[in-house]
Structure formats: C-alpha cells, structure tokens
Symmetry: C2
Subunit: 133 residues, 2 copies
DNA sequence: ATGCACCCTGTAGCGACTACAGGGTCAAGG
DNA sequence: CCTTGACCCTGTAGTCGCTACAGGGTGCAT
C-alpha cells in the first residue's frame, strides 16, 4: 500500500494474525477503526501495528480478550501506578498454575489407565473398565 | 419416577450432569433415545445410567465428545482387541503432556514479567513494556 | 383446585475465532 | 486498453461443549 500505510493483509503478515481475526477485533472494538482509502480499503499506521502486536503478545500469554481490553486501557494511562497491571498478571499466573496442576493430575490418571492395559480384548480392557461405572 | 425408571432430573443428579446437557447429548446422538412415559417424560434405565457415567468419566479425563463417541463404540465391540482404545488414550496423554509443557513455559514467562515489575507508573511498567512490540 | 416442582421443545448465547458467499478494487502484463 | 489474478469489502453462519432462556405441559401434595 502506498504512502507508508499498511493494508490489512500487510498488518496480518507483520503480526502473524489472520485477516479475518483483525476484522473481528475491530468489530468487537478491540482495535480502533483505521482510516480508509478512496477504494474503501483499511489503511493502517504504526500505531495500529503496535496495538495489534500488544494484543497478539497478550493473547499468546493466554490473556482473554476481555483482559486484553483492560490491559490496553491500562497501558494508555501512563501516569497511573501499575499495581492493576501487576494484579492482572498475578491472577493469570495463578490460573495457569492451577491448570497445570489439574492437567498433571489428569496425565497421572491417564498413565495409570494405560499402564494397566493388558492388550487383550475390549471385554477385559482396563481402560474401558476404568471408564465404566 | 415410578417403576424403577429415572427421570432426566434423577439421571442428572446421579451422574452430576445438568439436565440440559443430557438433552444435548441425546440431540447429538451420544446417548440413545430413552423411552417416554404417557406424559412424554423421558424414562431412563440402568443402561442409560451406565452409558452417561461412561461419558462423564471420559469427559472428566478430557476426551472430546468426538473421541467419547469412538470410545463408546469401541466399548460395545467386546471381542475386538483393545489396541484402538490404548492408542486413543496414549494420543490423548501425549496431547495433555504437550499442553502442560506449553503452560509451563507460559508460567515461566509470566513469572519473569511479574518479577521485573517495579511497582512504579504504567509508563515505566515492565509488564506493559514486555507486551509492547 | 391450586400451587409448585418438575418436564417438554426450540432457539439463542458464550469465547475466540474461522470460513464462506458474493461482490468490489487495483496493479501488472499482454 | 483490457484482462487477469491477488487482494479487499460486508455479512452471515459454522466450530465446540455446553448453558440459558421462553413459553408451554405434567404430576403430586395440600
């Protein structure tokens, strides 16, 4: 795209996001309306690139879109102290750790099931047995 | 419910499933149609209880409904050998272990972010900084 | 006979996208 | 100048696994 603007495809490539996802983010108000060219194409600037990168990185870290929205707002209030940001990150870390523990218990249970499989018929399969009441 | 049949509410309570979920499972063909009473109420027997318990337990272990469907079919073919069951369980265990590793990496990254937060203003917040490109 | 808890169907909503359908725009090559 | 093909537009519907109504019917106790 000319004049140093990025097309939605350029922005998608630059951030590793799908074009549809960018439009979706705009629709739900996570990204601000970019300007349009005469042909009605979205034209993005550096600030849009920065904002979408922020969103992408937050999403990669597992923050929900709801929380990303909050983080974006906080990031804009440059003079506030960052306790709220810290709290969000800590809360999320706790949730992730909880999930890891849950999945760990699950993995142990699955390993237990698999270890007891005698490779006979389904009728004598311990896995099926363990799933049955 | 009389005659030893269970109402959908009874079945829900017995299995720890919501009534709506049971109807949903029936709609997608995971549970067989139970008979109906004269008043058009679903009437469940022991075999429905067993089947739903199997589904619940499988779901608790993290199998998708798609996979639960396969497991149910396999469980019914009592004379087959249980290699397919074993393979499903092993595949799922691998996926769970992969997810644990991913979440572990995530948790490390989050801890790193949080450790570097100096509790100053947002403008100098390392968390926001780390999220920004 | 009336209240209330339960049941019925059907449909729409969640989160976070993804995948079309059915069109419009634009730059390069012939 | 015209065509081709890659890109863009909007709008809608699908994914998974439920969950939550709305608007009605049934059954049992008081």
């Amino acid at each position: 795209m000319k004049n140093g603007f990025l097309s939605i495809g350029d922005l998608a490539e630059a951030t590793g996001t799908k074009v549809e996802t960018i439009r979706y983010y705009e629709r739900i108000g996570l990204l601000t309306d970019p300007g349009r060219t005469s042909g009605n194409f979205r034209a993005y600037g550096a600030e849009h690139l920065a904002r979408l990168s922020f969103v992408r990185r937050s999403r990669d870290l597992g923050f929900s879109l709801e929380v990303v929205r909050d983080l974006l707002k906080l990031a804009d209030e440059r003079d506030r102290d960052c306790m709220a940001v810290d709290a969000i990150a800590r809360g999320h870390l706790a949730a992730v750790e909880h999930k890891i523990a849950d999945l760990g218990a699950l993995a142990r249970e699955l390993r237990d099931l698999i270890d007891h499989c005698g490779h006979g018929t389904v009728a004598e399969c311990r896995i099926i047995e363990a799933l049955s009441p």
